[in-house]
């Protein structure tokens, strides 16, 4: 059982979509939202995703394909 802590950033057209619900329905992963901020035209969410390693990767890949930006919770680590 793997656990990954991620930041999801939603573009305006996804703000009203049940993305996290759909991800949980389509993949065998558990999503645990710890912090979030959603407004009319933007939103972000800090969450933990647990499940099999490959299944987590598939779920994240699916989220990216929907238009979600997925980042490590640390932000950009590669420094200049």
């Amino acid at each position: 059982m793997e656990r990954q802590r991620m930041k999801f950033t939603f573009p305006p057209d996804l703000v009203t979509q049940p993305v996290i619900y759909n991800m949980g329905k389509q993949f065998h992963v558990v999503t645990n939202i710890r912090r979030a901020n959603v407004s009319r035209d933007r939103g972000w969410m800090i969450l933990e995703i647990s499940g099999g390693e490959a299944e987590i990767q598939r779920a994240i890949q699916w989220a990216k394909e929907q238009g979600v930006r997925v980042d490590p919770i640390e932000g950009d680590i590669v420094a200049g």
Binding site: R5, E74, G80
Partner: protein, 416 residues
């Protein structure tokens, strides 16, 4: 004497012991070092600091170090230059430049890495690591060498070879990751999670970032123990920006400066300006961007401390401002030609922003302004390609050189 109470979540306030951790287990917020300021206040004064070493270690009680062994590269205590010439060019009568180009590996990164490498030794790590495309790599490799630690530097595989030489010289292991920037970013976060390595800006981040506070302490001390009216600080992750503010506020809390009314202004390159975009939109939500700028040391598209930087701007009355790559090059040239300081592209960003804000009246001509110049121009020489005055080529004869320079022979030339 212990001055560190532990770590504290910046979001929910949950307390943790001072360990190599960086994320709150409750809310996944970033952790910050919490100090016992009463104990620090009893231990330091302007006089004890003045008797300290000519390096950032003169502020040791204000840094999260608990042991006696420090990894000392003599970083810090860099010049604060009264910039009369640049000030005249910009119409600013009270301008200073904090010249951090002269650190041991030629950038301000030696400050946070001094702290991170010291903590890595304290915590008993054997490997110091980072993911970097430039300044951080060199600093981590150098400090690991000094500390006797193994260094492991992660870079994107397509990085130009010239960028890594400055780190290679110190003998680190360099891993060129076959993937794009986002892949390197993600994989390093995962490595830090699984392996017991000291990743300076991941699991040691709460300690690492504290090193940047010394850029506030030094400026205040060099100004005769006062905080400036206005500072211009480059923003990449936003960590430096938040720590300069924290540094000034700590000095006020300890009574070392009378008070802090410093306006905190952030500078970004237009090709990677998510914080400026959020500031202009009057929101605290930073939308990540894909960087595209010559200011590579500021090219952080998803800045971890962007939100906190925006809050500080709002609280302090500062602004966020961006300049394009052409203005960055002009900024580098202007600083070099007026003050004799050759800065890397981040310095060009700061000078460009300074110029823009002075011209638009957002900096008052009489404000005491400090511009933070954080890295050396020798690191980003390619940015100036085609933008400098070409040499004059001449044959090795007096006449040829006089002709080339349009010099007239003196009327009373004498032969010795």
């Amino acid at each position: 004497m212990r001055y560190v109470n532990g770590l504290e979540c910046r979001e929910c306030g949950q307390a943790y012991p001072a360990e190599p951790i960086h994320v709150c287990e409750m809310c996944f917020g970033p952790l910050e070092v919490a100090y016992d300021y009463d104990a620090i206040g009893n231990a330091i004064s302007r006089e004890t600091i003045a008797r300290g070493p000519h390096s950032l270690w003169r502020y040791k009680p204000l840094l999260p170090i608990e042991g006696d062994r420090i990894v000392d590269s003599q970083a810090g205590f860099t010049p604060l230059v009264r910039a009369h010439n640049l000030g005249r060019a910009l119409g600013l009568r009270n301008l200073f430049v904090k010249n951090d180009t002269v650190n041991p590996t030629f950038s301000f990164k030696d400050r946070p890495v001094s702290i991170a490498s010291t903590k890595a030794v304290e915590f008993g790590f054997d490997t110091l690591a980072c993911a970097s495309t430039g300044n951080l790599a060199g600093s981590v490799a150098a400090h690991a060498a000094k500390a006797g630690l193994r260094a492991c530097i992660f870079i994107p595989a397509d990085l130009e070879p010239s960028k890594v030489v400055a780190a290679q010289a110190y003998g680190p292991t360099i891993v060129a990751v076959d993937g794009n920037y986002d892949d390197v970013n993600r994989v390093c976060s995962e490595i830090a999670d699984r392996h017991r390595w000291a990743f300076v800006n991941i699991n040691l981040r709460p300690y690492y970032s504290e090193g940047s506070k010394t850029l506030a302490y030094e400026v205040a001390e060099q100004l005769g123990w006062r905080a400036p009216d206005h500072v211009v600080v480059p923003i990449a992750s936003g960590s430096l920006f938040t720590k300069v503010w924290k540094g000034f506020r700590e000095l006020a809390k300890l009574g070392l400066v009378p008070g802090v009314t410093t306006r905190m202004t952030g500078a970004q390159a237009l090709g990677c300006s998510p914080v400026v975009t959020a500031f202009d939109a009057q929101t605290l939500t930073v939308e990540p961007v894909k960087p595209k700028t010559i200011a590579k040391s500021l090219a952080i598209g998803n800045p971890a401390d962007g939100y906190y930087s925006l809050r500080i701007m709002k609280e302090s009355g500062g602004v966020a401002c961006a300049v394009d790559d052409g203005e960055v090059v002009e900024g580098i040239k202007l600083l070099a030609r007026t003050e004799g300081i050759f800065a890397e592209t981040a310095g060009g960003v700061v000078v460009g922003v300074l110029k823009k804000l002075a011209a638009s009246g957002q900096i008052d001509p009489d404000e005491l302004v400090v511009a933070y110049v954080t890295g050396n121009g020798l690191k980003t020489q390619e940015a100036l390609a085609g933008a400098l005055i070409e040499p004059i080529y001449a044959r090795p004869s007096l006449r040829a050189i006089e002709e080339a320079l349009a010099l007239e022979a003196p009327a009373t030339a004498s032969v010795a």
